[in-house]
């Protein structure tokens, strides 16, 4: 199985750590991922904002870049949904001389695109990825992961197997956080009103970390939390699943204080042997 990583332009530029987590975790599970450098952007932003003319060449480039691979894995539910559901649509609507080639290619590549959590559970068939993350985590089912891709409880199944992790229940989790791509700028006030409610729900959940399958939504919620001076951090699902125990056999930190300290960049956790951090 030839696995290609589609990092997405947003993660590539702003959240490279998430990409590193994907690479490391898959390596830990015995899979090497290829990173085709020709990749750029799936065109979601262009498509959603109505700029289909700009989205079409990006969809075409995506299809030709990833055509040689068996599976495309991406740490973004939103971009996975774009490639899987909207690229074939764009291909169907085009009518220039490259249209036929692209149509066939888009139809072939689209069903091979998987969001990261889906890929782990459905393609690799794993739920316990050997992760260690001794913190209280709330999971936000982002709209594109829950409604468009229908990932269901896959991310929760993965998180439940993480050692030391406590899942906090997020009130009104199924409500949109208000990011919505250009909506966050076009309708900034409504967007932040929605985000403020989400941030309040996160705070009420008692979570130390908010987790989701989309860094875009997390940047929105996290931006609000950070502005409010909250210490709740936002982390991509892949970043949590890639985290491992500082030494083998450790299943939980002895105290919450230590757990919190390990999350605190200003007061890092006490030094410990870096054993067991395989690959």
């Amino acid at each position: 199985m030839r696995i290609a990583l589609f990092i997405t332009c947003f993660n590539d530029t702003l959240f490279p750590e998430t990409g590193k987590s994907v690479v490391r975790l898959l390596r830990r599970l015995g899979h090497e991922v290829a990173f085709p450098y020709a990749q750029t952007c799936c065109g979601r932003m262009h498509f959603d904002a109505g700029h289909r003319r700009e989205a079409l060449p990006l969809a075409r480039a995506f299809a030709s870049t990833f055509a040689p691979y068996d599976v495309v894995v991406t740490p973004s539910a939103s971009c996975a949904a774009m490639a899987r559901n909207r690229h074939p649509l764009l291909a169907r609507d085009a009518d220039d001389k490259r249209a036929d080639v692209h149509r066939a290619r888009a139809d072939a590549v689209a069903p091979r695109v998987f969001e990261f959590g889906e890929f782990l559970v459905d393609v690799l068939g794993v739920e316990d990825v050997g992760a260690f993350f001794p913190h209280t985590v709330a999971y936000q089912p982002t709209c594109h992961s829950a409604r468009v891709l229908g990932v269901g409880d896959r991310p929760l199944r993965l998180l439940r197997k993480v050692r030391g992790l406590r899942l906090a229940e997020l009130p009104h989790a199924d409500e949109c956080c208000g990011f919505g791509g250009t909506f966050a700028l076009d309708n900034a006030e409504t967007s932040t009103a929605m985000g403020a409610d989400k941030a309040a729900a996160v705070t009420a959940s008692g979570a130390q970390v908010l987790c989701a399958a989309d860094n875009s939504c997390l940047a929105h919620i996290g931006g609000l939390l950070s502005r409010q001076g909250s210490r709740v951090r936002t982390m991509h699902l892949a970043d949590i699943l890639a985290a491992t125990a500082p030494f083998p056999g450790l299943t939980a930190y002895p105290s919450d204080d230590l757990a919190r300290a390990s999350l605190d960049p200003v007061h890092p956790a006490p030094a410990h042997p870096r054993a067991g951090a395989a690959g």
């Binding site: 332009c9 490279p16 990173f35 109505g50 932040t192 931006g223 951090a277």
Partner: protein, 509 residues
């Protein structure tokens, strides 16, 4: 159709973001909205989830298929409807636009020398501005639902289709609604006494209904095979005014026709459950006229008002499947925050965002800035798709309309966005260009924020970054992009001992 007046824009209505700004400032309305939308959502979920597995899904599929079938052969079904209404002693009036529909109704009122009429308001009569048109002709319209009558004055669009008085506070008509809600088993049990306004409205209404000559009664659909008109309602006002007056008028959009009685079975299940009830309290049906019983004349006004243009658009036409249940409103997170006013139309919420621009001609020509702002009033979260009883893909239509506004240039020029999208398109066309941009962003990091986040940036100076950072911090670009890291370290394999194989959740550098 070129001279036809379209769904009227509410004059002076600002584009959605500005109107939403005003709505968000009304915190009392915000509290009411939140309470009502949450109550509606849980009641709807309760009566839908209690059905045996797959029954609801089958009903939705059937509903969508029936409406698609109707739309595919609309002229045939409308001809059949006209023939059977006429055969049953009724009269069909075809109205190309709001003015024609209003003229028909004013004409009927004048024929009966009626200075007042009773109405049960519908989205369709609000769409044509019937109350105002009647007032202009010197005819007083009495609304049977106190909550409707409390909000029908002026040309303000309503905040809520099912709970029109959601903006009014507890002591107003909303109190009555709260009691209804309580009776229906919702959590709101605070007792509210009927107010003076309410008592007066009720007393006046009974008097009016008993003596008035003309009634305009809302309906949900008409059945083509027999010419029967059907209304599923939670209040008795509609039944009263369809039984007592001499002349009965119903205004339906041309899409509100279904072929047979068997089809009604599907919609009489979909409609009430979508509004959180197991069945409608009052399901009324009337067919033409019957000598010696009920109204002596029945008029069915079939309204186009832009619907033919909606039908002509292969993507947008699914909006005409809508059966007017309003289930998409309370589940919409945007609607929950700002209510119905900012949509500036009789059609509000997600369905309004896709229907109004089409009724105003987006499928054929340029539209005004207010209309053009509606397709952008959504995060595309898809909550509406999940509840729609006829499975309208609202986000799909919204992005289609955004493409009409930008690619086809039918909206105001969004120059900044266009330039940004073009620039991004250029940057993404070649990987090296993206790499270059990432280098520039990493350099920018030295200026804006070493803390890993960017705080408030003056809005006028920094365009989108300013809009983003008014209330949110933005993530600062990292010193190295993912592709640069992958290239430098061979995907982490050459990272070596000095590498950052961290077990800490996410490095902050």
């Amino acid at each position: 159709m070129t001279t036809a007046r379209r769904e009227p824009a509410f004059l002076g209505m600002p584009p959605f973001p500005k109107a939403a700004h005003d709505a968000l400032a009304d915190t009392a309305m915000g509290d009411n909205l939140r309470e009502e939308t949450r109550a509606f959502r849980s009641r709807r979920a309760e009566v839908v989830d209690e059905l045996p597995p797959f029954v609801w899904e089958k009903l939705r599929l059937a509903g969508a298929a029936i409406k698609d079938g109707v739309l595919a052969q609309l002229p045939r079904h409308l001809d059949a409807l006209e023939a059977s209404v006429t055969a049953a002693g009724g009269t069909v009036h075809w109205a190309r636009d709001a003015d024609e529909a209003n003229a028909v109704i004013v004409g009927i009122a004048r024929e009966h020398a009626a200075a007042q009429v009773v109405t049960t308001a519908s989205t369709t009569t609000r769409e044509i501005g019937l109350t105002e048109a009647l007032a202009k002709a010197g005819i007083r319209a009495w609304e049977t639902d106190p909550a409707q009558s409390a909000t029908q004055s002026g040309r303000q669009p309503r905040a809520h289709t099912v709970v029109p008085a959601v903006r009014r506070h507890r002591t107003g008509p909303r109190g009555r609604l709260a009691r209804k809600t309580a009776a229906a088993g919702a959590s709101d049990t605070r007792p509210v006494r009927p107010t003076g306004t309410e008592k007066a409205t009720r007393r006046d209404l009974r008097d009016v209904i008993a003596h008035v000559k003309v009634a305009v009664a809302r309906a949900d659909f008409a059945i083509a095979e027999t010419g029967t008109v059907c209304a599923a309602e939670s209040a008795a006002g509609g039944r009263l005014c369809s039984a007592l007056p001499d002349a009965l008028v119903t205004v339906l959009g041309i899409e509100q026709v279904i072929p047979t009685w068997r089809d009604a079975e599907v919609f009489l299940q979909l409609l009430p459950r979508s509004t959180g009830e197991r069945m409608a309290a009052y399901t009324s049906m009337w067919t033409g006229v019957t000598s010696g019983d009920g109204p002596r004349s029945f008029h069915l006004v079939l309204l186009d008002n832009g619907r033919s243009d909606v039908l002509a658009d292969p993507v947008g036409r699914q909006a005409l499947r809508c059966i007017g249940c309003s289930a998409c409103l309370p589940v919409c997170p945007v609607y929950e925050r700002v209510g119905g006013q900012p949509y500036g139309s009789a059609h509000t919420g997600p369905i309004g965002a896709i229907l109004t621009p089409q009724l105003r001609g987006l499928n054929r020509h340029s539209v005004d800035p207010q209309t053009a702002s509606l397709p952008y009033a959504s995060t595309l979260c898809g909550a509406c798709v999940d509840v729609c009883p006829v499975r309208i893909d609202i986000p799909g239509v919204l992005t289609h309309q955004r493409a009409q506004l930008t690619d086809l240039g039918r909206g105001p020029a969004r120059r900044g966005e266009k330039a940004a999208m073009k620039a991004a398109g250029w940057g993404f066309a070649e990987p090296w260009r993206l790499g270059l941009a990432q280098h520039a962003a990493a350099l920018g990091r030295r200026v804006v924020g070493r803390s890993g986040r960017i705080g408030r940036v003056p809005r006028l100076l920094a365009g989108p970054l300013g809009a983003w950072t008014a209330d949110r911090d933005a993530p600062a670009p990292p010193p190295e992009s993912f592709r640069a890291w992958f290239k430098r370290t061979n995907g982490g394999l050459d990272e070596g001992a000095s590498g950052d194989q961290s077990e800490s959740p996410r490095e902050e550098s």
